[in-house]
Symmetry: C2
């Protein structure tokens, strides 16, 4: 099917899924989880084909991301079921006012319509994104990477069976068949058919979407995150937080790339840090390089998202300098201060302009589940519409319903 | 000054204005209103130069929009003062949760940072937009049309005096000096310096911004609005509503362009309508043309925003057909049903996907003041971030402040 037709079908189906009540949407989710598990063999067969075709042309890490197993399919089903218990974000009355002229103005949450997701090779994104869209009453158009296409198609076939079994228009979940660059471009330009475009993947994909999209697009997932260790910090706590934020999962966007240290405690703290995370290669600024061994930071270091066991380390003269450094180099995702000084904490949280600003905790908590949203579609690093983890509510908009008895102006 | 430097200065000043408390922001607004009136003669002198230069090259309507008088300057000052009493949208705690691990997560409203407005020749937009930005803690970058540039510069000079008098960084309000297309393009591409771009003006300007902007941009002000007169409508009320929605101010975006009439009442209603608004040229579909005299609608009529004493008129077979027509031709701004049937009203408000959906009232109420927002920066016809009238709250975003005592994940 041509990409245009796929988008038009999703748009046409968006009214059906948008008007579905909570019970029906939850029955669809339950059926999706059940049928996904029932279809395990078909999905694994498709996945094996993807893996055979990809071998040699992609890295081991990518191959692992692409690989499915009965356990991973079970995990996908469990992820869908978790959404059943989350509150329905649609139909919430956000405000209600009666004006002096008698008009009753109700602001009510409604689905966006069609949400398009352009992603890479993780097959679980297919089921996650579809389930988030269904629960929030949106049609979704999935454009998976070429390597994962057979797996994604098998997963989508199962999800469509579930829609059909519940009497809901199957076109509410659509997979783009063309995996060339053309289809991605067509989605980015589909004004009137796509209400929100979410890129999920590497920096190149995200930048391409943000630069080329005419449809509304959310900038997600860039993460140059910082921990600043203040003069008054508990140094043991600071080392523990830096260690966790850097090493618990270096490839994710809420991992830190830079540690800044106040000059007054640098000679004490840096040796502790070095001992705590010997596996991390540190890129040190001039002053830090005089206190511990490591690589030398260059101009680009503090703007690098390593996503690896690597970290830039700098020494600052003051809290204000740390804030200025973060303003210059942060991607406005997650930044933390470790301090025992409540005034420093207050100033840092007020002045650092990031989606999540932490005091005495690891940046790794920036996550839909950890924030109590139950799930997430990605982490927005822009300020419009959604900031930080995007849950179900961030997949809705609102309309004003205005009731009168003949009012004119 | 180069446009780039103007944007950088506004960005640098955004921290100052962003941290200003409510009292200080209100003092700035009061000073702005006062100084604007004090500077009336200077502003009028600059305005006369603009008018002299523009004569002959722009229409009478445009000249009128451009012209200032002591009364109009007084009106601009009054508009600024109205914002003093509105609640401060910054610093509101939107949610607060303590997680099981002891993390305290507070979601708090914060300014966007830098708001850029590209507009045409109304000098009052200069003071309105600046005041909205100041009250919401944002720096603003104003890019006025060439015809109004001297007037805008005089107004901005007065506004900057007020910032200075209150000890606030004057760079919080910046006027772009270059009025060529280049400066508009530069603003649209200024990633990292512009947090929100709002185009205010005609269709061409808005489309250019939406198509070319890489920075977040809000689609505003397109209005192909409809009134649907249902089978059960009170026909006197319907005629009154259509008359108001079409003729009270045809040049604005919340005026209607199309009336749809249910076939069962068309022969009664259309003659009444014709009598009620003889000054409106009607473009009639085939069936309507058999009932009253008028022009013949062609394929393009129902997609035309006349902004004039012109209106398309069509007959539909059912409520469902009216909804389908609106889905196809509406710009999702404001659409109304006139009906005495509560089930038809319910269905219409649920299924019509517009920012404001009316029952038995004129679409002309879609306005920040009429909706109780106190003011507005424009009317969003997109679904992301803001929909319908954009007031102070729509000029803010939020951040998560997370406080812990050493939590790691």
């Amino acid at each position: 099917m041509m990409t245009r037709e796929i988008l038009e079908r999703a748009k046409a189906a968006s009214t059906d899924i948008g008007l579905a009540d909570t019970g029906l949407k939850n029955r669809v989710l339950e059926a999706m989880a059940r049928i996904l598990v029932e279809d395990t063999q078909e999905i694994l067969a498709a996945n094996r084909e993807d893996i055979e075709a990809a071998k040699g042309s992609i890295s081991e890490v990518m191959l692992d991301r692409l690989s499915l197993s009965p356990e991973r399919i079970g995990g996908m089903a469990a992820g869908i079921l978790e959404m059943v218990i989350l509150p329905d974000p649609v139909g919430e009355i956000l405000s209600e006012t009666e004006r002096d002229n008698g008009l009753l103005i109700t602001k009510i949450s409604v689905p966006l319509g069609v949400v398009a997701i352009i992603y890479e090779s993780r097959p679980n994104v297919t089921s996650d994104a579809a389930a988030l869209c269904i629960k929030s009453g949106n049609s979704c158009v999935l454009r998976s990477g070429k390597e994962a296409h057979r797996s994604s198609a098998a997963v989508v076939a199962s999800l469509k069976k579930a829609l059909k079994a519940c009497g809901v228009n199957e076109d509410a979940v659509m997979l783009v068949e063309d995996t060339s660059r053309d289809s991605a471009t067509e989605i980015m330009k589909a004004v009137g058919l796509v209400d929100l475009l979410i890129p999920r993947g590497g920096k190149g994909l995200i930048e391409s979407c943000v630069r080329n999209a005419i449809v509304p697009c959310i900038h997600t997932g860039d993460g140059i995150c910082h921990v600043y260790v203040d003069r008054s910090a508990d140094l043991t706590m600071a080392a523990k937080i830096v260690c966790n934020a850097k090493t618990s999962r270096p490839s994710v966007c809420n991992a830190i790339e830079t540690t800044l240290v106040h000059r007054d405690i640098a000679d004490k703290f840096l040796p502790i840090l070095k001992e705590t995370i010997p596996q991390v290669t540190m890129y040190l600024d001039e002053r830090a390089g005089k206190l511990i061994d490591g690589e030398t930071a260059d101009e680009a270091s503090f703007d690098t998202e390593y996503l690896d066991y690597k970290m830039s380390v700098g020494i600052v003269d003051s809290l204000e300098d740390a804030i200025a450094h973060i303003a210059k180099h942060s991607t406005h995702h997650s930044d933390a201060i470790v301090t025992e000084d409540s005034e420093a904490a207050r100033k840092f949280t007020m002045m650092v302009d990031s989606a999540a600003v932490y005091v005495n905790a690891s940046t790794r908590f920036t996550d839909g589940g950890e924030f109590g949203l139950g799930c997430e579609m990605g982490i927005s690093t822009q300020k419009l519409h959604a900031r930080g983890p995007m849950g179900l509510r961030e997949l809705t908009t609102y309309k004003y319903v205005v009731k009168g008895n003949g009012q004119i102006r």
